[in-house]
């Protein structure tokens, strides 16, 4: 296959896209470098031109995962004032990205398993948890400061929300049987309902407050 060569940037993207697809189909260990190469009709040599090892591809894929998801969330919610609305936005973000790129989330399960073997992947995952925790804690702080709600225990709250989202990811990746839109709406609803109104003051005027709270 001596087709015209492809520009460097594209090739790297192709390698990651191919790896993502292969890992979803066969997991990490069962995927061979040759299979990844075949996905876009390139050869093994091309992959080793861009990456020093198979593991390096996995790690770079994880980097992309973090960038494409966590950092994008930050941008998206950055423009939203109300903390409650931000929670809703996070739910919507999850719905959308699960629909758009289920392969990337399948790769997440691959990362999880790989973290058993590989310390650096494990460390990246833990860092991801810390990042999530920071985002949510910050959000809750903002909401409290703005008088939107009070949070009895921020750590618990953050952990529950992360757990719910990861649980949904797992199920969708494995069985694809959820009505995502419905589920994610429920998650936002639940998480909003868990935040009691601040007792001493009325809801700030003009606060959109998406929660269908009945009490």
């Amino acid at each position: 296959m001596k087709g015209p060569r492809v520009s460097s940037g594209i090739r790297k993207q192709q390698i990651l896209a191919a790896a993502k697809r292969c890992f979803q189909r066969k997991g990490y260990a069962q995927t061979t470098i040759d299979e990844i190469a075949a996905e876009y009709g390139m050869s093994k040599g091309s992959i080793y031109w861009y990456y020093p090892s198979k593991k390096a591809v996995l790690i770079d894929l994880f980097r992309v995962f973090v960038e494409e998801n966590l950092n994008r969330i930050l941008t998206e919610i950055g423009s939203i004032r109300s903390a409650r609305d931000r929670i809703t936005a996070i739910g919507e973000h999850l719905t959308r990205s699960l629909q758009e790129d289920i392969e990337l989330y399948s790769a997440l399960v691959v990362f999880w398993e790989s973290s058993f073997v590989d310390e650096s992947i494990r460390e990246m995952l833990l860092e991801q948890y810390r990042l999530y925790d920071r985002i949510l804690t910050g959000l809750l702080d903002d909401g409290e400061r703005a008088g939107e709600f009070v949070v009895p225990d921020k750590k618990i709250y953050a952990a529950l929300m992360i757990a719910m989202m990861e649980g949904i990811i797992v199920r969708q990746v494995l069985s694809k049987d959820l009505d995502l839109a419905e589920i994610c709406r429920s998650v936002s609803g639940v998480m909003n309902r868990l935040l009691p109104e601040k007792k001493s003051q009325k809801r700030p005027a003009g606060s959109p407050n998406t929660g269908k709270d009945e009490g």
Copy 2:
């Protein structure tokens, strides 16, 4: 190692225990049959005496996982009347088993990844979801019949509860940084709070509910 031979039942248990430990440490593909054998000082041949392949060990381990967890839950909640109390009991069961046998739950992540490659493992996982769904839906039906609460959408409710629990499992397996007891109590709390009281009768939200009423 020519020690005295071990009875058939014990050996099989040993193989599963060894596999469980090895899979937690290195994942499925990275674990060699020799490593599993070494764990209890047996030889490769012994494993192949009991199992036809490495995959068969994994599948049997999953069978044990299902038996040890799902079926045990059924027994535990079987003797509890109140549906709300059963939800609490499920939370407590999760806390306990996560503390007792984190290795088995690590294996769950291995099963997830393996399901990408192996259709039979995938089918077992889906069956597990169906089982969970049945348990929870049955529980909600009972609670409604007994007048404990009403559930707007049982499917959603079941999916959310499963997601929360699996999310907690993932995080605990990977980072072990949660205060499990606290978190699991919160899950029961949340799930109970999501169940509105039946309109026609009054009971303060979050009340313990002894389950000695109604019929």
